[in-house]
């Protein structure tokens, strides 16, 4: 049995339509027009123990709705979902004791309390035995470098420090499943890297299953072997990064440093042929975007090196942002 099993999960919200203007607002008081919003329209997936899954999609696609249902704080309209054999929203309290949740935008800690007191209160809330608590606390303090922060009230922490404290707080009871909702939002580069390192360690060394939602594709590339893309309440893609790329055009970029500066016209004429999408030259460097399905990278490289003096070259994947933006565009979603 998989750790998380989700079948045909559906969620319909009934929302009141807003009318324009003050008069409209008053009319809305007595005569409400309701509209159904299908946040989830039949979602299926399984997640095995020890997986690290990236769950992405544009705003409003159903990411948060799914996470809230999995965490037991939202009841779906239809479908089934079990986590370690429990139905989250029916067994809310038992389920809550077994999972950890971190919302990047919202702290789980007590604003006025020093970090350590929040931890000790959570120990009581989660009924963590003293010895286990001491072990977990010390490990988190070490991994997340919380030592100097323990006596600081939460309201005085920087965002990066607070996120580290929040991560520790979510793991003190030793959950085997962790939901991270945009954990790197607003963090500076160093804090993001530290966060990723920690999540990787947690997943690889402690075998904690992690479900991560994010808008930061670097998080995904750095961490996830598996990606689920949701759009309009359905799972569009469920697979590895390679699969995601394959689905939206197999684009690669060949970057060549020539020994002498060449002109764009010569290069374009010489390389005329199938599979080329975009060629740009700046000084001695050319960026050649091509479709790896139409022309094999090795063949293109052979063609370039046979005609020009090449100093250096390499092939790169386009940034995954582009891939995902293409995918959202394909499904008529997204803000862009």
């Amino acid at each position: 049995m998989s750790q998380i099993e989700v079948q045909n999960l559906a969620k319909v919200f009934r929302v009141a339509e807003r009318r324009a203007g003050l008069a409209g607002a008053f009319r809305g008081l007595v005569d409400r027009r309701m509209r159904d919003v299908h946040a989830l329209a039949g979602v299926d997936f399984d997640i095995e123990r020890g997986e690290l899954v990236g769950y992405i999609g544009p705003n409003g696609a159903g990411k948060s709705t799914t996470i809230k249902i999995l965490a037991g704080i939202l009841t779906p309209t239809g479908g089934t979902c079990t986590v370690d054999g429990l139905t989250p929203w029916r067994d809310r309290r038992r389920h809550a004791a077994r999972i950890g949740v971190v919302f990047g935008q919202r702290t789980q800690l007590w604003w006025d309390l020093p970090v350590i007191e929040s931890f000790e209160l959570l120990q009581r809330v989660y009924r963590v035995p003293e010895a286990l608590f001491a072990t977990n606390r010390d490990r988190m303090v070490e991994l997340l470098r919380l030592g100097p922060l323990l006596d600081t009230p939460v309201r005085q922490l920087s965002l990066g420090q607070r996120m580290r404290a929040d991560l520790a707080a979510a793991l003190l009871h030793g959950p085997k499943l962790l939901f991270l909702d945009e954990p790197t939002i607003g963090l500076d580069a160093a804090a993001k890297l530290a966060m990723r390192d920690f999540v990787r360690t947690l997943n690889r060394e402690e075998g904690v299953t992690v479900v991560l939602t994010t808008h930061d594709m670097d998080d995904i590339e750095a961490l996830c072997e598996r990606i689920m893309v949701i759009g309009q309440g359905r799972i569009l893609i469920d697979g590895g990064i390679d699969e995601l790329r394959r689905r939206v055009g197999n684009e690669r970029v060949l970057i060549v440093d020539f020994e002498e500066g060449g002109s764009l016209e010569v290069l374009a004429r010489e390389l005329d042929g199938a599979g080329l999408r975009d060629v740009r030259v700046t000084g001695k460097r050319a960026r050649i975007a091509f479709d790896a399905g139409a022309i094999a990278p090795a063949a293109l490289i052979a063609r370039v090196t046979s005609r020009f003096g090449v100093h250096d070259l390499f092939v790169e994947h386009p940034p995954i942002e582009h891939t995902v933006a293409d995918l959202y565009a394909e499904h008529g979603e997204g803000d862009a």
Binding site: I73, R93, A96, F103, Q108, E117, R124, V125, R127
Partner: protein
């Protein structure tokens, strides 16, 4: 149960320490409460000074009613800040999610939101009035009387706690706390400061059967005072009446769980 009480104790300890960090604020609030309810009592005294008695009740007797309900309310009020602020602090901000993510009953966590130490002002004032009324009336404090008074206060705390739970429950539908609930809480305290027998029969029915204010004030206090009830109730009924407060609390928790179910199905 023991575990629940231990957790509440922990919450309260943390909350009290947090409040004592702001000492000036605490002292001013507590003093303000003391003076505020003190002035109310002076008004009561002025009334009796002019008219002598109220439908057969002496000033000391009414002072006893006053003291009991004020002590009761002060304690309940201190325990229910989380419910009082539920709309703006938890529903509007979506912070209620945070409570749902934890393996404890949401009502327990809300009770742990704050133990409002500043309510000690009202409590102290109530206790002083109660002490004075006791000596003025020369009440013989036997075990039965003490027990009944404690049961009365306990039932009263349950009742006012239930009112606050209902007030918070409405926030699941309205988001903001409804001022109209103050009619029942603060209005309730004012009402229960006077003996039930002075009110019109329609009010008496409402305060007995719908909002059982008289069951945690008037009826048991009549028994503690050891006087005959002008309304003709018997001692057994008077002694058991505070249980209505506990029943009221139970019903309010049923309403609460309906509200929570609504929240978890709409997500807001």
């Amino acid at each position: 149960m023991a575990d629940t009480i231990a957790l509440l104790g922990r919450y309260f300890g943390v909350s009290i320490r947090a409040q004592l960090q702001y000492r000036a604020s605490f002292l001013l609030n507590a003093t303000g409460q003391f003076v505020n309810s003190g002035i109310e009592f002076v008004g009561l005294w002025a009334l009796f000074d002019r008219f002598g008695h109220l439908a057969g009740w002496t000033f000391a007797e009414v002072a006893f009613f006053y003291g009991v309900v004020n002590c009761t309310f002060a304690i309940a009020d201190a325990l229910t800040t989380g419910f009082d602020r539920f709309g703006t602090h938890y529903v509007k901000t979506g912070d209620f999610d945070r409570l749902l993510l934890r393996p404890r009953p949401t009502a327990l966590q809300l009770a742990g939101h704050e133990f409002a130490v500043r309510r000690v002002g009202r409590l102290l004032q109530g206790l002083i009035v109660l002490a004075w009324a006791t000596s003025a009336l020369d009440i013989p404090w036997d075990a039965a009387r003490v027990a009944l008074l404690l049961v009365t206060v306990a039932g009263g705390i349950a009742f006012f706690f239930g009112l606050m739970v209902l007030q918070a429950t409405l926030c699941f539908w309205t988001t903001e706390s409804l001022e109209i609930m103050n009619v029942l809480t603060y209005g309730g305290v004012e009402t229960a400061q006077y003996p039930l027998s002075i009110y019109h029969v329609a009010f008496r029915r409402v305060f007995t059967f719908v909002v059982p204010l008289a069951c945690i004030g008037y009826f048991p206090v009549v028994a503690v005072l050891g006087v005959e009830d002008p309304l003709g109730t018997g001692r057994v009924f008077q002694a058991l009446a505070p249980l209505a407060g506990v029943a009221f609390l139970g019903l309010s928790f049923v309403a609460w769980s309906i509200g929570v179910r609504r929240y978890t199905s709409t997500g807001s």
